[in-house]
């Protein structure tokens, strides 16, 4: 069989015009246009061919990202493509961003492999490298000859279901995505061999580079805590009994929002923990141990705080990826913004 590929390029590479034509709306042409010729020479060697080319003005795409992306997705679908290639965009910022965006949209909506190519400093790289393979290209079209073979190779092998190697070996920009694989040796032997290399001062490659974390600057202190409305937010998994939002015991994909207006303390049997990462016994016996509603109500009655906010937010911080945790935090922050003066975060 021949694998069908759709190619995305901008108005410049389609030969329509430069900046003065950057506002043209997307169009589809059957077959090859512009740089598609060079790509297709490589595709043909591997039973693949470009069946159609989508062209869009860079300004038009930037101003109509959603609708232009949808247009591209529809075109790719119409041609029954097995793979999608965009660019190369070299150092053209808007073009690079468009290439990244269409690769992401096509990949997510149609589930087919994608590839693009850009200069490493193109803003499209940081925005979209997580979602697609971006071949590391020169900063101008002079680098076309070098960019095309790895683009074709990465796309063809994805379409054939073959594994893609490391960024270094394949020539794409590191996506920062971790992929599991079976090594030739067990982890213990790899560890001891790595240690021997480290001791000898030989070169070794760590299997995981230590992460770098955001640091949050603490907010200034509350001027008058006796007037403050305070919310409780927990990663300790305290939820109404039965876990109505089905928050997973580990690797939570969501969080819950629960009303505690009129609740003076969290009774056993009415609340529980959904968290699988610690001894649940004591949290289930008295959920206030993790989410201290009882103490907050006392402080409220004593006038030491203004008010306990009517809702609390809960997720499970067990095996939950940092990216998900960050998203939950941002969303909860947005919900609380302007409604409370402070938040108490409890863990486990």
């Amino acid at each position: 069989m021949t694998y069908k590929v759709v190619h995305y390029i901008n108005q410049f590479f389609a030969g329509i015009g430069g900046e003065e034509k950057a506002d043209i709306a997307p169009e589809v042409r059957e077959g090859i246009v512009g740089p598609g010729l060079a790509l297709n020479n490589f595709f043909k060697k591997s039973d693949a061919e470009i069946v159609a080319t989508v062209i869009c003005g860079d300004s038009y795409f930037a101003e109509n990202m959603d609708s232009a992306s949808d247009f591209v997705v529809e075109a790719v679908k119409k041609f029954g493509a097995d793979g999608f290639v965009a660019g190369p965009a070299f150092n053209a910022g808007r073009y690079g961003t468009a290439c990244g965006a269409v690769c992401k949209a096509v990949g997510e909506k149609l589930g087919i492999p994608t590839v693009s190519a850009m200069y490493v400093e193109n803003p499209g790289v940081d925005l979209y490298k997580k979602y697609t393979y971006i071949v590391s290209a020169a900063d101008s079209a002079r680098g076309m000859g070098k960019a095309v073979p790895p683009m074709a190779s990465i796309l063809v092998r994805q379409m054939k279901g073959e594994a893609i190697g490391t960024p270094k070996a394949e020539g794409y920009i590191e996506r920062g995505v971790r992929v599991n694989k079976m090594y030739d040796e067990v982890g213990a032997e790899r560890a001891v061999k790595m240690l021997i290399a480290k001791l000898k001062g030989e070169e070794f490659e760590t299997e995981y580079k230590m992460p770098v974390f955001d640091r949050v600057t603490p907010r200034p202190a509350i001027a008058d805590i006796s007037k403050a409305t305070i919310a409780l937010v927990t990663s300790g998994g305290i939820v109404p009994f039965g876990n109505p939002d089905h928050i997973a015991a580990s690797s939570a994909q969501n969080y819950g929002e629960y009303c505690i207006a009129g609740v003076d303390n969290l009774e056993k049997g009415k609340y529980q923990t959904a968290h699988g990462g610690y001894d649940q016994t004591y949290a289930n016996e008295d959920p206030d141990r993790v989410l201290p509603v009882d103490v907050m109500r006392n402080l409220e009655k004593e006038g030491k705080i203004g008010k306990l906010y009517d809702y609390y937010y809960a997720t499970v911080g067990n095996g939950t990826g940092v990216a998900n945790a960050k998203r939950f935090g941002t969303e909860i922050g947005q919900k609380l913004k302007g409604k409370v003066d402070a938040v108490i975060l409890t863990s486990t």
């Binding site: 560890a191 790595m194 240690l195």
Partner: protein, 430 residues
Amino acid sequence: MKLELQKVKITKVVFGDEFSVKNGVLTVNKQAIIDYLSDDDRLAGVDVELAHPGEKTRIMPVKDVVEPRCKLSAGNEVFPGMIGDVDTVGEGSTLVLEGAAVVTTGRLVAPQEGIIDMSGPGAELTPFSKTCNIVVVLHPVEGLENHNRETSCRMAGLKAATFIAQQIKKAGFTADKVETYESPSYKDALAAYPGLPKVAYIYMLQTQGLLHDTYVYGVDAKKIIPSMINATEVMDGAICSGNCVSACDKNSTYVHQNNPIIKSLYEHHGKDLNFVGVVITNENVTLADKKRSSSYAVKLAKTLGADAAVISEEGFGNPDADLVMNCWKCERQGIKTVLVTDEYANRDGASQSLADTCPEGDACVTAGNANATITLPPMDKIIGDIQFADVMAGGFFGSLKEDGSIFAEIQIITGSTSEVGFTKLGAYTI
């Protein structure tokens, strides 16, 4: 201290009227095992089933996996402080039924943990699809308090494994191979191989409470300060698992008995390095405990004169802080480190993998991203109870499909991302 492991290779287990081993076939008396384990008033029911590699069988939820062993000489019994007396083990000779394993399952303690598939894609990820499994199905009495429940299920696995080995000892056997390991005195260990770097193993034990505990000579390891242990003591079951939540990276008792880092250090001993000793340390939940244990463990390694250490973590998240403290405290004392961990990089692999970090951690071996997902196809036979899939760590509501298949994170598979490097799974960055 010298330990001889007399290994009998087991390739099949069958039920019979007696206990025997012949041509790799282990015969066990099912009723005798049930009767022996039933002498525990915390258990309302006990059953025993068999599962072999390649069968369309799923065992879940899995509490522990134990290799059948018993002492042949030097007194005492394996699993000191649990089965054996509290006296020192690690000397004399020990019978090992290699290739067999006791797996405990049943209505355990919420959250329910661990899947072992004997065939299919899940089988590729667990070491225990390759063993001939004697599965002990446990039904604790209703209303039993959770900690008691855990203890009775934990003890049942250790008891069954020892009992089976003891019956073979009585019946007679011929060892297929004999392995000898030596734990020399520190005086001799430190004087050996003067030209080679001294390497210690810092062996982190999960100690965070119910279903997250580890026992050393019967002592709850959260109550120890870090300590030296001989590798041969570990082989005799001095370290037992009470620990199975997020089953992918918890060291079952079997993994302790066969710790691959110890094995690998022995293999390189005298050639590339001088393996001078094992330091056990814990992973308690408070900051003071983390500081104390990491400082003390590193001090022990320093006292040994170690030039380098392999550090293995057990678990993730909170223990990442212990791992990182052990790492930078070693490196700042001039002890070079390699860390063995696993990753929680989200299902898409695009998130950071660890919850703590330090620049000194420049040499890291990973057992893979535990958040990666897998579809486990339906099986013909379920041992245990499939209904727990949605509430197991790594599962989620909707994990269990109507046809009996399970869509979940590989976190749910027993031993899939072993942080003592028991398997070949790892990860790389694309």
